[in-house]
Structures are given as C-alpha cells and as structure tokens.
C-alpha cells in the first residue's frame, strides 16, 4: 500500500492549535471586557486622579478695623523662598545652601539637608526654605541675581501686619501655623496642613469670617509630578472684614495714660477697659505690658518667646479678662445693693463711725478714719469700711442695723455678674470668685466666719474679679439695671461692603433691683467724685465712680527686680451720666486697674486711676468724637 504523500499533515493537531488560539483570545477579550466595559468608569476615575491635581489657592485673610473703619490688621505682600532640586546642579548645592542660609538667617546645614531630602523625595517639587514671609528687598535681590540662586523660586505670600501691634495684641491676638490636631479636625473644612489659623484673640474667635473662601486650581501633572498646565481655576474669596466696637481714639488715649504711668514707674502693670453701658459695646481694652503680635506674624524667634515667658508680669495674658484680683472698695456697690434690695438698709440708714477700728473675737477690723455719722451716700462717697461692715454683718456702731449676710451678698454679686465669665467674644476669660458660706465649705472645707463677711463687704478676702466683670457690673447700674454681655464685634462686612453679620446686643439678665436703689447707687457714685475719695479738680464732666484699693504681697522688702514686695491694686471704675448726674443714660463706663509694686511705691499717694480717668474721659468726650 502506498503511503499518503501528505501524511505529515496532522489535521487534529491543527485543530488543537486553533482551539488553543481561541482560548487565548477568549481569555484576553473576557478580561478586557471586564476592565474596559464593566469597570471602565472606575479606571477612568483613577486615571483622572493620576493626572489631575486640585491645588488649593489660599484666600487673602479679612481685615480687622475699629468702629470707625481704622485699620487694625491687614495684609502686606511678603515672599516665600523655595528650591526646586532638579533645577539646582548638585555641585552648587552647598554653595547655594550657604548663600540662602546667610540671607534668611538659618543654619546652612539645615538648608542643605532640606534640599537633599527633597531631591530624594521628589526633585521636581519645590521645597519651601523660608519659614516666615521674606521681606521685599531680599526677594527682589534673589530674583535679580538668579544666576547666583540656581533652582530658587520666589513666590508672593501675605504677611499679616498689625497696626499698633502692642496696643491691640491682647484683644486681636495673632495667627499661627495650624497644629496637627487642629488639622485633623478641620481638614474637611478646607484647611491645609501648612495653613495658618487664628491662634488667639479676635483672630481666633472670628476665624470663620476672616479666613475667606479658598479657591482651587486644577492642574494636569505628569508622573514626575511636574505641572503641565492649568485646567481650571476657582478664584478664592477674600475674607470678610471684622468691624470691632473699639474706638481707636479712646484706645490710644487710655493706652497713653497707662503706658506713661508704667514708664514713670507709678505702677508696673495696668488694665483699662471702656464700654458703652447701653449695649455692651467695648470701646477700648488695654492690657499693659503686652506684646507685639507682629512678632508672631513674621515668625517669632525662640529668644523672643522665651523673653515673653520669662516676664513675671505675663505679657501674653490679656489681664482685662484673663486674670483675677480682689475688687477692694469697688465691691461696696455689691454690699450696698444687697442691703438695699433686701431692705436691711435704706438711703437713710445711719452708722456713727466713732472709731477707726473695732474687734470681733480679738480680731481687729479697721476703717481708714473715724468718719462720724454716715448715711448710705456719704458712707459710699467716703468709702467707709465700717459703714459697709455694718450693712453686711452688723457692728457695734449701729446696733439697730441688721447685717444682710453673706448669702444675700453672694446672690446679688452673682446677679451683677461676679463669679462667672461675662461671655465676651475673646478666649481665655476667667470666671472670678463670688464666695459664699457654701462655696467656702466646698473649696476650703471650713465654715464661714463673720470675719469673712466683713472682708467680703469691702471686696477683700475671697472675692476675686476680672476688670471686665467689675466694669460690666457698674455698667448695669449705670444703665438702669440691664447686665449686657460685653462684646467686641460690631459687625462683619464682606469685600463689597455688604453687612454679613451684625449681632444684636445680648442681655445676660435684668437686675432684680428697684430703680430707686439703682439711682441711689448712681447718686452715691457721683458723690465719690464730688465730695469723696475720687475728688477731681476742675472736673468738666459729671463723672461718677468708685475707687478701690487692695494690698497684696509681703509686707516689706524688695524683690529681685528691685520692686517693693508690698503692692497695691488700685481701681477706679467710673461711668458718665448725661444730664442730672444720676440718670441711667451713661454712654461710657470705664475701669482702670493698676498693679502698683513699683520701685518708687508711694503708699499714701492718691489713687492714680482717678486722675487718669478724668484726663481720658475729658479728652475723649470733649476733644470731639472724630
């Protein structure tokens, strides 16, 4: 049998080969179908994420102005210096690091390290060298001599500039880099890891308005993260302008007086706050010593921060709200209003102060002189301690007068706002202490004594207040019985000038006191100035007020800085009625607090706050409200 000449062709093997082919292409097609048809959208998104990067465009922070539009905080252009490693030849790295370091005042090792690290990480991405905005001259110097600065990039960046930095720092505060924790909380709100945020003061409280709306820029980037082109741009929205209730003119008058007192060493620390008693507008708020918040804006050095922390006068604390002091005789208003409101005293209640002191269980209690017979008005005007001891707890000088007792004083003290924060729109407010028998048992684990009541009656002992609380309490008396929440925000306006927010004055409470008693208090306070403790020579305005003094510290000796260890807190809290000296229409109330532990302390000197108040109010009210 003859062999088939084409026996070498094996059809079944060809069929098998064909089947293998079909399997291969079926598998590839099935997989492609899954990738492109079933999951196409998913991968399309991934490709877009690869390619498109949305970069935030920061918004210019809003300004802060006083009630008349005087600019307190604004932005001025500064510059950021960065290096793009890929544009910097490696051999010139050391040389450039040295040059930049000397220009920016950094150690050159640190600069070189930054560049090297970035070269490894992503050489196409600029690494920012300057930590704080660089002034214009340096930026221009770098740009003009580009051949000396290979790979260096200069980008505009804003610096916050505070006009009168030290004057306003305690209330405006400052902005600073966001912390890791804050960033975690705020990143959904559009904050960036290297963002600045209001750290304290108005900058912090009204961050939401000031920050503005960040825009974005969508860029196309290649695999090396190089920017290829801008695909879309959303312009940022400038932050809103925060208008404060502050009147810069009054702020500067107050500051000038207080600063002069510190410079002349009449006292070492001082606080002044002025407000409108009719609505709680804060017109001025000064705390000395302060600090220049521009130091924080341009990046504070460790040396500067160490100096601030080393100052035992705590310049970083806004003492108008952040520290508490004994109220001294200013507190007699509370004792008096308690007795009047409870009916244990009237304007005619008479105490015959025949001696300068008396003893209870062997403890002596003093007055500053033997006043003779006093009624409510004269007792308050001459600031007789014994008169108010009598109203508080009874004394041998007036056996028929029943003391109103510590519970009632605590009740009316709290009604007037003591012992609780006022709720002013600033961070770091202290609550103060409004003591009561219950409070003492709880906090000191001791029963209340009559001596405690006497001390409390004249604002000493456990009583502790912030200057703000004291001012607000007097303001509520001055306006006829409304305790307003003090506030610094007048309104918020956007970049077009439209009012975005204008909070109505918030009332804390109406005082549960009669108009007659409040009027008596106003009359008594006016008498303090006309016949009493705070006599003002050639007074041009019907100022009413109350002085207060409290000793603190050790009785004798000098501290390391040469200051007297014995010091006095001096208070003068005042208000300015309009017509008949007792009407409830005062437009301004002010407290001045000085902390006298100066080297030249004069124990018997006149309370310095009184004269300052007269000068400031006369200059402010009579000098024209421009």
């Amino acid at each position: 049998m003859r062999q088939d000449p084409r026996a070498f062709v094996r059809p079944r093997r060809f069929i098998a080969f064909g089947i293998a082919m079909l399997v291969v292409f079926t598998a590839l097609t099935a997989r492609l179908y899954d990738l492109e048809i079933v999951h196409g959208d998913y991968y399309r998104d991934l490709a877009e994420q690869n390619r498109i990067l949305r970069l935030p465009v920061t918004a210019e922070r809003g300004g802060i102005v006083d009630r008349n539009g005087y600019v307190l905080a604004r932005n001025v252009p500064g510059f950021a210096v960065s290096v793009i490693p890929v544009d910097l030849p490696r051999p010139r790295e050391q040389e450039l690091a040295l040059r930049l370091a000397s220009l920016l005042n950094f150690p050159s090792d640190a600069v070189a390290d930054q560049i090297r690290t970035q070269r490894v990480r992503n050489p196409y991405e600029p690494v920012r060298i300057s930590t704080a905005p660089v002034p214009r001259e340096i930026a221009i110097g770098i740009s003009e001599r580009a051949e000396l600065f290979p790979g260096v990039r200069v980008d505009p960046e804003s610096i916050r500039l505070y006009a009168d930095g030290t004057l306003y720092a305690p209330l405006i505060g400052y902005t600073g880099p966001i912390t890791q924790d804050e960033f975690e909380k705020l990143k959904d709100a559009g904050y960036l890891a290297d963002d600045d945020i209001g750290r304290t003061g108005i900058e912090s409280v009204y961050e939401q308005y000031l920050r503005g709306t960040y825009g974005w820029r969508e860029i196309e980037r290649d695999a090396a993260q190089r920017e290829i082109k801008t695909l879309a741009l959303q312009q940022p929205g400038v932050g809103d302008t925060v208008v404060l209730t502050i009147d810069d003119r009054l702020q500067k008058l107050l500051d000038a007086e207080l600063r002069l007192g510190v410079e002349e060493d009449r006292f070492t620390q001082a606080v002044g706050v002025a407000m409108n008693p009719q609505n709680g507008d804060i017109l001025a708020m000064v705390s000395i010593p302060g600090y220049d918040n521009n130091m924080f804006a341009r990046g504070i050095t460790s040396k500067e921060i160490a100096a601030l922390n080393a100052d035992d006068r705590h310049p970083l604390v806004n003492k108008a709200i952040g520290d508490i002091y004994p109220a001294g005789s200013t507190f007699k208003m509370v004792t008096g209003l308690s007795a009047l409101s409870e009916g244990t005293a009237t304007r005619d209640t008479q105490v015959n102060v025949t001696a300068m002191s008396f003893s209870v269980s062997g403890t002596p209690f003093f007055d500053w002189r033997a006043h003779g017979p006093l009624t409510f008005v004269t007792g308050f005007a001459h600031s007789s301690d014994i008169y108010f001891y009598t109203l508080a707890a009874g004394t041998p000088f007036a056996p028929n007068v029943r003391g109103v007792g510590p519970e009632a004083i605590a009740k009316y003290g709290k009604m007037l706002g003591f012992g609780a924060p006022t709720g002013i729109d600033l961070p770091g407010e202290a609550a103060g202490i409004m003591p009561s028998p219950e409070w003492k048992l709880e906090n000191k684990n001791e029963p209340w004594t009559i001596g405690n009541t006497y001390q409390e009656a004249i604002g000493q002992g456990f009583v502790a207040v912030t200057p703000m609380q004291l001012l607000n309490a007097y303001a509520s008396v001055a306006n006829g019985g409304t305790l307003w929440q003090p506030h610094l925000l007048k309104q918020v306006i956007d970049s077009q000038g439209t009012v975005v927010a204008k909070p109505a004055p918030q009332m804390i409470r109406k005082l549960d006191m009669t108009q007659e008693n409040l009027r008596l208090l106003r009359e008594s306070a006016r008498r303090v100035v006309t016949i009493g403790h705070a006599y003002m020579p050639n007074a041009k305005l019907p100022i009413a007020g109350k002085t207060g003094t409290a000793e603190f510290g050790a009785a004798t000796g000098k501290d390391g800085a040469g200051r007297n260890k014995l010091g006095f807190h001096n208070w003068f809290v005042s208000f300015l009625p309009q017509a008949d000296n007792t009407d409830p229409t005062a437009q301004i109330a002010m407290v001045i607090f000085t902390y006298d532990s100066s080297k030249s302390l004069c124990e018997n000197c006149f309370n310095p706050a009184v004269g300052m108040t007269q000068r400031i109010l006369e200059a402010y009210v009579l000098g024209g409200n421009k």
Binding site: F8, D41, Y43, A47, N50, E220
Partner: protein
C-alpha cells in the same frame, strides 16, 4: 499521478509562476497590522506636551522600518525556503553567534531586551534569532519526523534549543527565552510529537520552577511578586502593573481617542510605545480597538496556519507552525501583561510595539511563509 515536487526541493520552478500562489489574506492582514502599528506609534509618541522635537519622528522611523520590512519580505519570498533547510546548520551557528555577541557587547536598558548598536542604530539580535531558531527546529523535526515518537528525537531537539535559551536568559531576557521554549513546543506538537512526552516535559519544567525561582534576578522575582499582588508596593514594583490596568480600564468601550490618552504621554505608563503599547492602545481606542486588533491577529494566525497546512513538505509546515506559535505566544504574554493576566516580561507585541528589529524579523518570517505558500502544490484546476 506525478512525483511530488517535494522530492526535488532544490529544483524550483520559474519565479514568475509562484506569485499566483502568494497568500493574499496573509499579505493584506500584514499590511493592515503594520498600518495599525504605525497609527499606535503615532498615538503614543506624537505628544507635544512633554516631549520636544519633531512629534512625528517615531512615526517616520516606524514607516521606514516598515518599508525595509516589506522589502525583506518580498526578497525572502523570492527564494525557495528549501534553501533555508539546506543551510540550517549555518543558520544555527549564526543564531548562537548573534546571541553570544549580544551577551558580550549588547547594552541593556531597564531589563528590556538587549540591543547591539551598529552605525547609530540599535539592533535586537534576539528578535532575528527567534526566527532563525524556528527554521532550525522546523528543519530538525521535519528531518526526524519518522522517529518523532522516540524520546531521543525530542531530547536532541532540546539540546539544540538549550544553548539559545541559556544565552537569551543570561542577557537577561526571561521573556524571549520563554518564546524560544514556546516555539519548541509548538513545532514539536505540529510535527507529531507524542502528547505525553510534551506533557511530561512541561511537568518537568513545572517541577523545576523552584530552581528557576532561585536562578531569577531580584528584579525578576519582584516582577513576579508584583504580578501576584501589585498593591503590595504600588509606587515600586507594582507601579507598572497598576498604571497599565488604569490605562486599559480607563479606555472604556471606545477609548479616549488617538493621542487623547493621558496615561502614556504624562509618563504614568512606562515604555508606552513598546512593552506597554497595548495599554496605550486600549486607552486610546478602547475595547473596540482591542477587539479589532484581536480580529486582525486571528486572521493573521489563521492565514499562517493555512499556509502551514497546505505546505508542500513538513519543513514548510513546521516553519508556518513555528511562526504562528511565536506570534500567538507573544500576543498572549504582551497583552496578558498589560491586563495583569501575565507577569511583566519585556516581549514586544507583534506589529504594534515600536521597534525595527521586531518588525523586520516578523516580516522576514512572513516572507518565508509566503515562500512556503507560493511553493505549495498548485491549487486544483
């Protein structure tokens, strides 16, 4: 009944009469695929966003190579492929010589195929070596098909194969050495080797995998590891795989359009005009573009197999089978790599990957196939 012409292989008929038996389907699909390749070269390289210089330079170079390829194809088709059989031992020596030269003086880039630079052009000798190896193995199995059942025949075939595989592997080019092995299996299978012997051989190779693993270079192990879990190191070993999947998937049903893809021009897709060209194609032209490519490949393979099936002698048949095997395997591995069905190995995708050596080698192989077709028994009256 006439004596089969196969008995006198060196006695060729006048050339003019052969052209009528040229395989038109094979020729047309070749032209279409070369054209498709040029389009893809244009799409993946004509990018003005990141590159400077003439955006058409790659396309022009590709067209030039295509012209060379067609000349080579025509030239090869002119000659009776039997001459190749005659000089098979010489070709074998040239194969090993080329691979040895590459190993000695070749330059490699990023683990891709090594190339030799001559007169400013870089040649990938292993592309040529693959085709020559097909001829050598086809000749060997054609000559020994009577005793194909003997393990000795398979064994000696392996001995022929081994030095080439070893030299390519040392380049190191794991992908191409696998192509050599695939060619061996394909030719042996169509020559009628016992299936159990081939299976046993594959089983032995499988059993030797741990040994192979230990011989692999670190980067090769990394690629295999990344294939199994690309997200273990998405910025490193897994990067190519992930970016390739993104490119392919984002193409969707009809693609983003020519040159409109973003993955390759922006550099996310590495070696986008060669190893990962399929990912670029799938991104630009989508599922539809891929299916059209597959259809062209299927036509090409069917045409090649038909040429083999109708060949006048076993040598011609096995050349056709070898070329078909090589093409199918390269398609599987290259496309599979782009869609994460296969580990990453640098094998070019026939016609589509930009590269003169690959294109000219394939044209050479297809020229041989046309020669086989032209010299088959004349079709019936």
């Amino acid at each position: 009944m006439t004596l089969p012409r196969a008995a006198t292989p060196l006695h060729d008929r006048p050339a003019a009469s052969h052209w009528t038996q040229l395989d038109p389907m094979l020729l047309i699909v070749t032209v279409l695929l070369v054209g498709y390749g040029l389009v893809m070269t244009y799409s993946t390289t004509a990018e003005t966003r990141t590159f400077t210089g003439d955006p058409m330079q790659f396309v022009l170079r590709g067209a030039l190579w295509a012209a060379v390829g067609f000349l080579v194809m025509a030239g090869v088709a002119l000659f009776d492929y039997a001459w190749l059989g005659t000089f098979a031992p010489v070709l074998y020596a040239i194969t090993l010589g080329l691979l040895f030269v590459v190993l000695q003086i070749g330059t490699s880039s990023l683990g891709a195929q090594r190339s030799v630079n001559i007169a400013g052009l870089s040649f990938q000798f292993s592309e040529v070596a693959k085709i020559l190896m097909i001829v050598v193995l086809a000749k060997y199995f054609a000559d020994h098909r009577d005793r194909i059942g003997s393990p000795l025949v398979i064994g000696f075939g392996l001995v022929l194969l081994a030095p080439a595989v070893f030299l390519v592997y040392r380049q190191p080019d794991l992908g191409t050495s696998l192509v050599f092995i695939a060619i061996f299996f394909g030719i042996a299978f169509l020559a009628g080797a016992r299936v159990w012997q081939l299976t046993a051989l594959a089983a032995i190779a499988g059993a030797a995998l741990p040994l192979v693993w230990s011989l692999l270079k670190d980067y090769q192990r990394g690629r295999l590891g990344a294939f199994l879990d690309p997200y273990a190191d998405p910025q490193g070993a897994g990067w190519n795989i992930i970016q390739s999947l993104i490119a392919v998937g984002s193409g969707g049903p009809t693609g983003k359009g020519l040159t409109a893809g973003t993955q390759s021009p922006l550099g996310y897709l590495p070696i986008a005009e060669s190893d990962f060209v399929f990912a670029g194609l799938a991104e630009d032209l989508g599922f539809a573009g891929a299916v059209i490519l597959f259809a062209l490949y299927i036509v090409l393979l069917v045409a090649a197999l038909r040429v083999a099936f109708r060949a006048r002698d076993p040598f011609g048949l096995l050349i056709g089978g070898g070329v078909a095997t090589m093409l199918l395997f390269q398609i599987l591995v290259n496309v599979g790599m782009a869609i994460s069905l296969m580990p990453v190995t640098g094998i070019p995708l026939p016609f589509i990957s930009h590269g003169g050596s690959s294109l000219v080698s394939i044209c050479f192989a297809l020229g041989v196939l046309q020669s086989v077709s032209m010299r088959r028994e004349p079709d019936g009256p």
